[in-house]
């Protein structure tokens, strides 16, 4: 049996192989090398494209996990305050809930704050003092580096100035500091009596016009009913001071209309530089563009490969 198997094997191996002529064999070798190289290139391109797509998808996922992308409405939900800056005002909004802080360097801002939860604070810090609020609408004026005036439309604020006794202001009350320059005293500032709407009135001697309401990018999706609407007619020169505002202003509903902090925000009244939240929301689109570009490039290369193969044939 074993011998039979060995004989059979030997006989089978003896069956002649029909090889092509040498010239044909060489031509076949050249075709194989050329087509093989093209096939390898195509396979590598496909692999690279897949890898690029995978990396892009991974990046999108990573960004999604590390920087959750919220809609613009959610990105500003951690602010209670609506800051409306007058022309020439310079302020920043460096922190949000629970210890929300607005740092006013110069000029006048109008602030509306939605009701705060226990343990939450909202402060406007001036160079030499600060105002802490608990759900109110008020005006703060800083002139020549000093807190000069505070006017409360509604609610309660406590004013703590360096050279003055702390004062608590109620509805319609105002406070005047030491360095107020010209103009009407703060107590006489016309303040809107509506609880839902704040009025920005300029106290600065140089720029006495309110800023026209404009939507910033970060609040583009805010519902219209939260807009801070009834403001004096916007003067044409208000845009001249836009650059002075260091941080985007954030709008939230007035206290009486929007008690929940998670409600959609009002549009910003101050045109701001591109908000970081919006930038991070757009960032994942870039790897996808690259992946699409890779796919287009792959299709183009495949077309070329097919043309090469037709030429070879």
């Amino acid at each position: 049996m074993t011998d039979d198997a060995a004989d059979l094997r030997a006989l089978a191996k003896e069956i002649p192989v029909e090889l092509p002529a040498q010239d044909d064999l060489l031509a076949l070798r050249q075709r194989i090398v050329a087509k093989g190289a093209a096939a390898r290139r195509r396979a590598r391109l496909r692999t690279a494209s897949f890898a690029a797509f995978a990396v892009a998808a991974g990046a999108v996922l990573a960004i999604g996990f590390t920087h959750p992308v919220h809609p613009p409405t959610a990105s500003i939900a951690h602010y209670h305050g609506v800051v409306v800056a007058s022309a020439g005002a310079r302020y920043t909004h460096p922190s949000g809930i629970p210890d929300e802080l607005v740092v006013l360097e110069a000029g006048r801002i109008h602030v509306e704050v939605s009701p705060l939860a226990p343990g939450e604070r909202f402060r406007v810090r001036a160079p030499d003092g600060e105002v802490e609020v608990r759900g109110t609408a008020f005006d703060v004026t800083v002139d020549s580096g000093h807190l000069t005036a505070v006017a409360v439309a509604h609610g309660r604020v406590e004013v703590r100035a360096l050279d003055a006794q702390p004062a608590v202001l109620g509805n319609g009350e105002s406070w005047q500091g030491r360095a107020q320059i010209g103009g009407a005293p703060a107590a006489t500032v016309p303040v809107a009596d509506s609880a839902a709407v704040a009025t920005a009135t300029a106290h600065s001697a140089s720029a006495a016009a309110p800023v026209s309401p404009r939507r910033s990018t970060s609040t583009a999706d805010a519902p219209a009913n939260t807009a801070v609407a009834p403001i004096a007619a916007p003067p044409p020169e208000t845009s001249a001071t836009i650059a002075d505002v260091a941080m985007p202003s954030i709008s939230v509903p007035a206290p009486s209309l929007a008690p929940a902090p998670s409600l959609a925000p009002a549009p910003s009244l101050v045109p701001a530089p591109k908000p970081s939240a919006a930038s991070s929301a757009l960032a994942p689109a870039m790897p996808q563009d690259r992946a699409r570009e890779e796919e287009r490039r792959e299709r183009r290369d495949e077309r070329r490969e097919r043309q090469d193969q037709r030429r070879l044939r």
């Binding site: 089978a12 002649p16 194989i32 093989g36 190289a37």
Partner: protein, 199 residues
């Protein structure tokens, strides 16, 4: 012939100490000449393997061999080294042969007519009468191999003619080794019966 031998021989001298695995790796990393060297080393066995599996005509064989090596090139970066390059190459060829048999089942010429064959000289047989008798014997065996059921033919060609390791062939075919040996036994038995019937 001389030109081919010279070219192939030069390639062997240059790459003689390089393993098939290294050649495949070199090709995968961009050295296109490595594929040519692989072709030089294995084209004869590949022709034989595909011819025994398919019984294809010479023109179809050329296409099959070309498709096999191009597919090897395309998949070179996926070679994992679990089997030898030769076995892997035959695995690719096996798939090509299966596609060929499926696609050409109706028009395939199962066995070549004696008059159409390329002239072949049987080694060690000098007398014309013995040569003719031996050739007839081999043709009968070739016909019997081609007429084997595909699973038996694949095992017989891979294990007996190409002498690939049984474990690698079993993995290549996706069958247990026991199944492989049983198929080999059945193939031998069928071939012996066919040869006895002829005689």
């Amino acid at each position: 012939m001389i030109l081919s031998v010279a070219i192939l021989g030069r390639a062997r001298r240059i790459e003689g100490d390089v393993t098939d695995e290294a050649l495949l790796a070199r090709f995968a990393s961009g050295d296109r000449d490595a594929l040519g060297v692989l072709f030089d080393r294995h084209h004869r066995a590949t022709y034989r393997f595909l011819a025994r599996l398919t019984g294809a005509t010479a023109a179809d064989l050329d296409d099959l061999v070309q498709s096999t090596f191009v597919e090897v090139a395309r998949a070179a970066s996926r070679f994992d080294g679990r089997a030898s390059v030769r076995t892997w190459l035959f695995g690719v060829g096996l798939n090509m042969a299966r596609h060929y048999r499926r696609g050409n089942a109706r028009r395939r010429r199962v066995i070549t007519e004696p008059g159409d064959e390329r002239p072949s000289q049987i080694p060690g047989v000098d007398r014309p009468d013995q040569n003719a008798e031996r050739r007839e014997l081999l043709q009968a065996l070739e016909r019997a191999i081609v007429e084997l059921p595909a699973p038996l033919r694949e095992v017989f060609v891979a294990c007996e003619i190409e002498e690939l390791p049984g474990a690698e062939v079993a993995r290549l075919l996706g069958v247990p080794e026991g199944t492989l040996w049983r198929r080999l036994h059945d193939a031998r038995k069928a071939l012996r019966a066919a040869m006895k019937e002829r005689s």
